[in-house]
């Protein structure tokens, strides 16, 4: 029982790290595409680590089987949802972030031959 709790602690710790990184990226990244990438970090990796920790802490076989079914369905639905969001953003004509626009004119002059 103690080994299971230590493994669950590791899983929850990784969920915390990935979730915080995803939330920081959700507010710091410049355009919706990169925000979706970091949001996928928070929405898929952190949640899946949470599921693994919950599976290690499951008290009975019934609850463990239900968590496994939820994990399988989550592996199907979460990437599909991200794909739908990406296609929607792309078809809506959202421009990608171009870092060269924010450079000073000196840098642009140096790039030209």
């Amino acid at each position: 029982m103690l080994i299971r709790e230590i493994l669950a602690l590791i899983a929850f710790f990784s969920a915390t790290v990935f979730g915080l990184a995803g939330l920081i990226g959700l507010f710091r990244f410049p355009d919706p595409y990169s925000r979706m990438q970091s949001g996928g970090l928070c929405g898929t990796t952190a949640i899946f680590s949470t599921f693994i920790g919950a599976l290690l802490l499951a008290p009975s076989l019934i609850i463990a089987l239900r968590i496994v079914i939820i994990m399988v369905f989550f592996l199907i639905s979460a990437p599909t949802g991200s794909y739908i969001v990406a296609r929607f953003i792309w078809q809506a004509g959202t421009p990608t972030w171009n870092p060269r626009k924010r450079k000073s004119s000196r840098d642009q002059r140096q790039e030209e031959p």
């Binding site: 669950a8 929850f12 939330l23 949001g39 949470t50 989550f74 949802g81 739908i84 959202t94």
Partner: protein, 91 residues
């Protein structure tokens, strides 16, 4: 120790969900709102699973599975609706 872990994870997922709600309200475009909604759906699913495990009741896990299925369908409907409205604006 198990109760402490599950209680901590519930509070962390509630924190993640509230931050996503801030992004959902303050997002400048509809694309940012959709991204935040996608994350919020997964965070709510994880919260339901951890809550059901902390309460030792399998009913919450059934609720979580059905929430995932219907949340996915509703999400597809929202994306389709927003895409139609965008294409009408362009024409």
């Amino acid at each position: 120790m198990s109760a402490i872990l599950l209680g901590y994870m519930q509070w962390f997922l509630v924190f993640c969900g509230s931050v996503c709600i801030i992004r959902l309200i303050a997002g400048p475009t509809a694309a940012d709102r959709l991204v935040a909604l996608n994350i919020l759906s997964g965070v709510t699913l994880g919260f339901l699973v951890v809550r059901g495990l902390a309460e030792q009741r399998a009913l919450y896990l059934d609720v979580a599975l059905v929430y995932d299925i219907f949340g996915f369908l509703g999400f597809m409907a929202i994306a389709r609706f927003l895409k139609d409205s965008f294409s009408k604006e362009e024409q």
